[in-house]
Amino acid sequence: MRKLIRFTSVMALGLSCTISIASAAERITVVSFGGAYTNAQKKGSHEPFMEKTGVQILSEDYNGGLGKLRAQVESGSVTWDVVDLETSDVIRACDEGLIDTIDVNDLEPGTDGSAAADDFMPTAVKKCGIGAIVWSTVFAYDKTKLATAPHSIADFFDTNKYPGKRGMKRSPKVNLEMALMADGVAATDVYKVLSTPEGQTRAFNKLAQIKDQLVWWKSGAQAPQLLADGEVVMTTAYNGRIYNAVKNESKSFVIVWDGQVMDIDYWAIPAGAPNKARAQEFLVFATAPEQLARQSKFISYGPPRKTAAAMVDESMKKHIPTAPVNLTNALAADAEFWADYEDELNERFTAWLAN
């Protein structure tokens, strides 16, 4: 018994030491999607921020969605300080009060002195989130394995002309848009069609044509892996992941930009973040033009503000989604649409998948 007491007090002493050490060096937890993307963020923003302020950044990975964030906010034990969210999640989380509002006037101005509000793309500034990158879902193939090269989104759905399996993300988002574009709907009309029940059925029917041939991926890193394994002949993927596989792993993958669906990722601060002041400071730092431009050196996602886009390396310019050559048939994801329809389309997609 005495030993137990001694043991407990030693433990307690140890614990209090750890706590005091932890509070000595300030630390914030920044959460993002991991892999090549987080590496680029580390080099672009985390490391310079740590150097400048002396604040430790603990980088954590997640797979998107609001599940964890909501669990933290509702239970009152928030451990995240800054989180990288997709557009529709920013809107939903803001509606539900899961993330704090951000004042655009607090942000760094453009390098030419223009106000942040004018420098950012209009869609990149939301009530509760500030754009970090423009990314895109494209489809890609391995040129050593396909005899004829596909070049349109319709080719992705054409299993007669290009037999073989296809990889797609296990989610209705983007897939339904691509299905409609492959079915002949113009990019500008996609969301108009998708708001109607007939349009939704049309998209699901188009997907159903290749249902037997589909392999589903969940995390961004899986898509290039499926392609590398020869498991699929074509797959949809985040453009940065394919770029990374080509550049750093010498794969012979080719991106087809036709029918790309562009989207923006945002930095946001959870309601009740443990170190809110530093979180705010990080957010302002990470969305400044210098950091956004530096980040684009390491991954082919574009900065969502004009003066940062101008600083992107010449060699990288043609690989980012917003390059003019890549925009011939491109769709900008409609966040409002997905914030409104996500639940019902998710439900329908899950049932469609299971049946």
Binding site: M1, G65, L66, G67, K68, R70, R92, C94, D95, E96, G97, K165, L214, V215, W216, D229, G230, E231, A339, D340, Y341, D343, E344, N346, E347, R348, T350, A351, W352, L353, A354, N355
Partner: protein
């Protein structure tokens, strides 16, 4: 004489009293010392009890409550809630209710609680989320006019003129709900508030419960077929060889589950080792590679491999205790080896078979990570849907209801098992 008897009686009573007194004191002493022991023992298990209470009982109870919890809409839309309390559900509500709704929506929009309302209502009636957000946007832009609130709202969206929308709102107002359990059983309320079956293209859970059950049975059966001979071999081999074999059984047990699952992907995928080998041997042509991964087959194979030790170990411990002379006796009495095996050996392994099957089945029925990785479209089990509703759709009520149903199924199975085989006969080694 009489006096003598009386005196002895008194003496006897006295000694009896004394003995009883002594006994009481002894018992009290014993009780005191055991109480101390008991207190010490309790102190020792206290951390475990606390741990189980905090980490297991409490979350479980919380989860079970969530499955019937109706959510915060009644508090977030107080005016509408009050007006709808005595609404008859057969005709559209009156103008004052429409006005209350418009007020509540605008307040919720301002206080950033509209998302919470929309999320909960959308579980009740798909599509309400967009109706609410759209109405909030339009109401904010609307200028004051002479039109009634009813006209204005119906103008924004005609669904405000439908009974189904209003009865959905009324259903989320009481503090408890059956919606999540109904959804778990592919049922839903219709516009009149009656329980109906969901259309087949939206019904998924009943089929998936059956599939989960079938996969678990399949895994248990294949574990038994593969595990029984191995366990037998382990029990009859000389110690040195048996130990070596035992290490082979345990080695995968010590390897990470993720590693084992992903190595099955490397083996079985379309361009995996097995398919490559079959093509190289000329058994398959290049175009006809087998689909063994990302479907139910892949799930069963990988789960069987992972759960196999849970079958072999209890079987082995039972077989080890069976005296070989029984088999010798049976054959010397004229039984063929087959009869001796079926009638003498097999019945004695029953506790092991029961323990192994129960363990494997119950582990399999709640399996999550393996089907998530290799299940593809057709190999998904109910746990994957629970995870989906926890992480993606954020419908925690439905996730809780599915989990509670799964828990009840497991408890029923356990009860059946206890009735048929008896839990005291379990031998886990």
């Amino acid at each position: 004489m009489n006096e003598m008897v009386a005196r002895t009686d008194t003496l006897n009573t006295l000694t009896a009293d004394a003995r009883e007194f002594e006994g009481k004191a002894l018992r009290a002493q014993l009780a005191r010392s055991t109480r101390l022991e008991k207190a010490k023992a309790l102190l020792l298990v206290l951390p475990l009890l606390l741990f189980i209470g905090v980490m297991f009982i409490f979350p479980l109870a919380d989860m079970m409550l969530r499955s019937t919890d109706n959510g915060p809409v009644a508090e977030l839309m107080p005016d509408t809630a009050a007006r709808l309390l005595d609404w008859d559900q057969f005709t559209l509500p009156d103008e004052a209710t429409y006005a209350a709704l418009a007020r509540d929506i605008q307040t919720a929009q301002k206080e950033r609680t509209l998302g919470k309302i929309a999320t909960r209502l959308n579980f009740e009636l798909s599509g309400i989320r967009s109706l609410l957000t759209k109405s909030a946007r339009k109401l904010a832009q609307m200028e004051s006019s002479d039109e009634s609130w009813k006209q204005r709202l119906v103008q924004i969206d005609q669904r405000w003129g439908e009974l189904a929308t209003w009865s959905a709102i009324k259903r989320v107002l009481p503090s408890v709900t059956a919606t999540f359990y109904l959804s778990s059983l592919d049922l839903a309320y219709d516009a009149k508030g009656e329980v109906v079956r969901k259309p087949p293209e939206r019904a998924i859970y009943v089929d998936n419960f059956i599939k989960t059950f079938a996969i678990s049975l399949g895994v248990t059966l294949s574990c038994f077929i593969l595990g029984f001979p191995v366990a037998y071999l382990l029990s009859v081999l000389p110690t040195a060889k048996a130990n070596l074999l035992m290490i082979c059984v345990l080695l995968p047990f010590w390897t990470s589950l993720l590693v084992r699952t992903t190595s099955w992907i490397a083996l079985l995928q379309t361009h995996g080792i097995v398919n490559d080998l079959l093509v190289w041997l000329g058994i398959l042509s290049e175009g006809n590679r087998l689909d063994m991964m990302y479907n139910m087959f892949g799930t069963v194979v990988a789960m069987t491999h992972i759960l196999l030790p849970f079958m072999i170990l209890p079987l082995f411990s039972v077989m080890k205790s069976i005296d070989p002379s029984f088999m010798r006796a049976a054959t010397s009495l004229g039984a063929s080896p087959f009869t001796a095996f079926i009638r003498v050996y097999l019945p004695q392994t029953k506790p092991g078979i029961a323990a192994g099957s129960l363990l494997v089945f119950i582990l399999a029925i709640g399996y999550y990570i393996t089907p998530a990785l290799v299940g593809g479209r057709t190999g998904q089990m109910i746990s994957n849907f629970i995870a989906y509703h926890m992480q993606q759709s954020l419908n925690w009520g439905l996730a809780a209801a599915l989990a509670v149903i799964l828990l009840i199924i497991v408890l029923i199975l356990y009860w059946l098992f206890n009735r048929i085989i008896g839990i005291d006969k379990l031998k886990l080694g």
